[in-house]
Assembly symmetry: C2
Homo-oligomer: 461 residues x 2
């Protein structure tokens, strides 16, 4: 059995170009879930036919939105579910791309294109990992379940329903989540959980239409309401002022998280500041405190602000409406619905009860305890592939509906992925390094082998 | 001489269609000064050739920006300067127009098109008025000077220079300003002055680029700075908090204004509320207090607010910059430069010294004293044409560089115009009523006759 990793690595070294070709085909389909429809089915069909070629039993099904691709291969008792999504963020602003976003372009050892990192590169790498372990999948007793979602970038609106209806299929002993990034120190980042998401839009309305601003002494301008309301959400030190905002956090999660945070290298924070050209973090946070804020605390952010004339030059107008897009990210133990209710009550108490509050997406956080076997297998596989131990973080600052696995289906999850610190996910010139693509493929293959071995050993104990 | 008005009215009744045709040609040239160049010269040439046909001595000249059209006709000692502008506001949002903005369309007795009211309709009507008085211009001792600007909608950046260089040409005994609107009560509004303008854009900057908002606990978001700064400019009652903001107002202006305001009909305020579907004015203002705020106090307004993602749906981002467009309108006696300096100092004292403050336009207010002959002539002409006395207001809530005449050249000015309460200037479906177009033409013709007669009488006294 010890030869399996060597065989898998040999296969990948000899065949990785095949999966770059698959990635090329995936990137060429503009699966922007926010705006496109036909392209979603095209991509789901492509993924279905690839999985079928590999010998998988495949189902493509819509649960009211863009189709979900479900594929299963192997029939052993060591089941593992692999979650990814084939939809991507809009490519705009187009003028900021050096090459067309929907054309995979190789340059300086890097592959550029929308979805190269988030999340098509990972899909292609997982498909390569599958081929690498296929020859001994039965010996390992593996049953691998793929689930490719088409709505992750729009908040996974129908995925909870899919998980409910397909729980028998999706439940497994362990799972691999969608992403992983290599840091500047060459170490793979393995994240044990993701924050939740409460994305809302708050709108204030004034006169029936935009009005000449000569009337400003008389006609109410909703932009003033908006800015006043927002200053009640956060103070100048970055402290969030919504009552109960920090309540409900799972103490077990905090304990686990604090232990992991102790091992993190503060150099990462210095690099982040340098990369973004900022002098200080919010509220002057540094070191452990900064990691704690990022990885254990809920966040509240202004994603977008709009009112009136925002084009070039000057236009004199009293806007008839003014709005803000806000993302709130709860941490494990917190109920996003309770945060929303607290926020609404707070707005009402402050005299902003006339504000419209629209919800774009809402789901809780989810995380896996550090000692889980699938995490151990992931760490061990990463050590071998990357030559250095991975950086294990308790919770990403970002969000994903991982709770559907960790909390609903009770499947422990580990991260793995082909991105790196410069991947520019969601931004122009999204890219991955070819080296990371190959390593990410190897990592998943070895993770599968290692995890199956662990489960087999545990059984024989 | 008493037959002159009758003759002028007869001419206009028989020939007004000719000037609708001229308006049609003017509207067809998209003279959007904010974005267009070639069209500006096309329109200036058209105006020049019309004036020449009428017998005027014409000069078309650029003072660094869009060309100015200067025309003079008559050689008497009773000089009057007529100011208008041939540039227009951008037509956007295009989808809100029922007919194309750059096509003059007649519907239900109304003429629709960008510039129909502001300000091409007035230009065409003034050209008609000129033809109506041409036969007896010498007997009246009139010398009429036209000045058509091409940059009013972008804050008249080079007009001060033009006025300086052309002061000998532009100086006159009296003048007619660009606009006038008929109210719901059928009375022409004559405005004796306009507020000034200080249009600024304040921008806060954060990270070098937009960043994934998972980093919100650490990466500063300039939108928070922006909203906090704005709440220091105005309180919840609409009171402006910038130190010294209400200082410097000319007491003579306030005395004149208060007398005129006493005669205003509060029904106008009720109609404004109804039209805009608002329940209350800012700070609960009503009646005389509302008129005073509108017509004697400086204003400060948010014209536009922008940060991050403002499109449909959700995008999770920390914006790298956030900005606001603000128009400040000083009243007579106030120095916009001093207001700007006070504002900058205030921002610095509040800890917002890092904000960028960009200036789009800056000029002071200007007004004419109620007893001036040109105002009396305008009132008398309006009484005859509209059958009811005009509504004389001390100062428009809106702005215009009228100070260049009233304060720099010392020319008393009066308003006159073809608009009405439903003209939707600066908005989609801008329009005038044909009836007002004809009456506006008659009003200017009779004003010219009346004013010349007054001056001749004064001389013979």
């Amino acid at each position: 059995m010890t030869t399996y990793p060597d065989k898998a690595i040999k296969y990948i070294n000899e065949n990785y170009r095949k999966y770059i070709d698959i990635l090329k085909k995936l990137v060429e389909i503009p699966t922007v879930s926010a705006t496109n429809t036909k392209e979603m089915m095209d991509c789901a069909s492509l993924l279905s036919s690839i999985l079928k070629e590999q010998g998988a039993r495949v189902e493509v099904k819509s649960f009211g939105g863009h189709p979900l691709v479900l594929g299963e291969i192997g029939s052993g008792s060591n089941s593992i579910v692999i979650y990814n999504h084939y939809d991507v963020q809009p490519p705009e602003p187009l003028e900021s791309w050096d090459t067309p976003p929907f054309e995979l372009t190789m340059r300086d050892g890097k592959l550029y294109g929308r979805g190269a990192s988030d999340n098509k590169g990972n899909i292609a790498a997982r498909l390569g990992a599958l081929d690498a372990v296929l020859p001994f999948i039965d010996e390992l007793g593996l049953r691998i379940k793929f689930v490719f979602e088409g709505e992750e970038e729009v908040g996974s609106p129908t995925f909870p329903k899919a998980v409910e209806e397909k729980s028998d299929f999706l439940v497994a002993q362990g799972g691999i989540w969608e992403t992983g990034y290599v840091g500047r120190d060459g170490r793979l980042g393995i994240t044990l959980g993701f924050k939740g998401m409460l994305y809302i839009e708050i709108i204030f309305r004034g006169a029936a239409r935009d009005t000449h601003s000569g009337n400003a002494p008389l006609v109410p301008n909703p932009a003033w309401d908006l800015v006043r309301m927002l200053t009640h959400l956060k103070d100048a030190m970055g402290r969030i002022l919504v009552p109960g905002f920090h309540e409900g956090i799972k103490s077990e999660f905090l304990e686990d998280a604090e232990k992991l945070i102790e091992d993190l290298d503060p150099k990462r924070l210095i690099e982040l500041k340098k990369d973004l050209q900022i002098e200080h973090f919010v509220g002057g946070l540094e070191g452990i405190d900064a990691f704690k804020a990022l990885m254990t605390m809920p966040s509240l952010n202004i994603c977008g602000l709009y009112a009136g004339y925002t084009g070039k030059g000057a236009k004199t107008v009293i806007p008839s409406y003014a709005g803000v897009k806000i993302d709130i990210r709860p941490v494990p133990g917190q109920d996003p619905n309770m945060i929303l209710e607290n926020l609404k009550r707070y707005l009402k108490d402050l005299g902003f009860g006339h504000a419209e509050v629209n919800i774009h997406s809402m789901y809780p956080a989810g995380y896996t305890k550090p000692g889980e076997k699938v995490v151990e297998a992931s760490i061990k596989a990463a050590e071998r592939v990357y030559g250095v131990p991975p950086v294990v973080t308790p919770l990403s600052g970002g969000s994903g509906p991982i709770y559907l696995f960790t909390d609903v289906l009770k499947v422990p999850m580990t991260g793995a992925g082909v991105g790196y610190y410069g991947s520019r996910s969601h931004a122009p010139n999204e890219n991955i390094r070819v080296e990371d693509f190959i390593n990410g493929m190897k990592h998943v293959a070895l993770l599968l082998i290692e995890y199956a071995s662990m489960l087999n050993e545990a059984e024989s104990d």
